[in-house]
Symmetry: C2
Subunit: 203 residues, 2 copies
Amino acid sequence: MLDRVTTKDALPPEALDQIFRSARTYNAWTEGPIEDGVARALYDLLKWGPTSANCSPARFVFVRTPEGKAKLAELAMDMNRAKILAAPLTVIVGNDLDFAAKLPTLLPYAAETYQQYFSQPAVAEATAMRNGTLQGAYLIIAARALGLDCGPMSGFDNAGVDQAFFAGARIRSNFICSLGYGKPDSVFPRLPRLAFEEAARFA
Amino acid sequence: MLDRVTTKDALPPEALDQIFRSARTYNAWTEGPIEDGVARALYDLLKWGPTSANCSPARFVFVRTPEGKAKLAELAMDMNRAKILAAPLTVIVGNDLDFAAKLPTLLPYAAETYQQYFSQPAVAEATAMRNGTLQGAYLIIAARALGLDCGPMSGFDNAGVDQAFFAGARIRSNFICSLGYGKPDSVFPRLPRLAFEEAARFA
C-alpha cells in the first residue's frame, strides 16, 4: 500500500496561466469602480496564506477615493503618478511592527512565548518585513485568481506614505499595487526570466 | 460599449481552495522522492511572478540528498530538525545581493540605469529582501498549484546556512520550505485570521 495519502492534481493549465504564466503587469485600466465586495473577497482569500507563527503582519489600505488617489500619487515617483490616478483602486501594503499585539487572537496557545520573542526590535522588524511581503505576494496571486489584474509598484516615498496613511501606528509601507481590469495595450513586452541553472541548484 | 476589455473569470472554487482556503502547512511527509522534474516545473512556474524591474533576486537550493538534509537540519531550530530530515525535499530561499549583475539579461533596455540605482547598498538590500520574499511566496503558491504540499519555516541559523550553502556569493538565506506530499494528521488545527476591519481599510 502506498504511503502517499494526499495526492492532489495540478490545477488545469488555464488556471496556471491565469495566476502565473500569462499574467502580466498592467499600466492602464478600464473605467469603472471596483466594488467594496471585491476588496473584501480578495482579503478573505489572501488571509489564508501561511505566515510565521500565523503572525499576519500585513496591513492594507485600499485607496479608491479621488482624494486618496491624489494624496498617494503625489508621494509616488513620476512614472507611477498617472497610473495611480487612473487605476480604480490602489492598495498600500504595509508591515505592522506591532503585529505581536494581535497574537492572542492569532496564536492563542503560544501568544506570550512569541510576544516575548518578538519584543526584540530586530526580530520584529525582520519578521514583519518577511511575512508582510509574503502576504503582499498572496494579494497579487489572489487578485489574479479572482480575475483581477495587478500593477505592483515600489517607486514612492515610503516615509511620506507612512505619514499620510499610517499616522499614529508603527506600520511601514512596503509596496503598492493597482488593481482593476487592465488594458491589454498597456502591457510591456514580456521580459526574460533566469534559467533554472542561473537561479537554482540541487544539493 | 463597455470599456472593460479583459474580464477574466475567477478560478473555480476548488482551485481557490487548493492554493489558499484549504491549503495547510504540513509537518510530516509521505515516503518517496520528489523527482528533479518537479523542482524544475515549480521554478518554471514561480519565475513568472512579478518583481521590481524584473530583478528576480531569489536563489533556490533544493536540498534532497541525505548529506544536504543533515547539514541543513543541524542549522535549524530543534522543532524544525526532524521535519527537514523527514521531508523529501526542502528548498532554501535566498536573496542575492548581487542580483543587479543579471539585469543585462533581465532588463536589457535599462540595465545600466537600474544597476546604478541598485549600486547603493541599502537600496540593493531592501530590493533583494522585498522581491526575493515575493518570489518565495510565489514558490509556495506555485507548489500548491502543482499539487504539492508546503511546510515553510524561518527558524534556523541564517548565517550558518549562508556559510554552508551560499559560500562565495553574497546570497542571504531568507526562509526554507519543505515540499512533498503531506500527511494529513501532521497538520495543526486551523488558526484564526484577522477580520477585514482589523487588517484593512478603505481610503
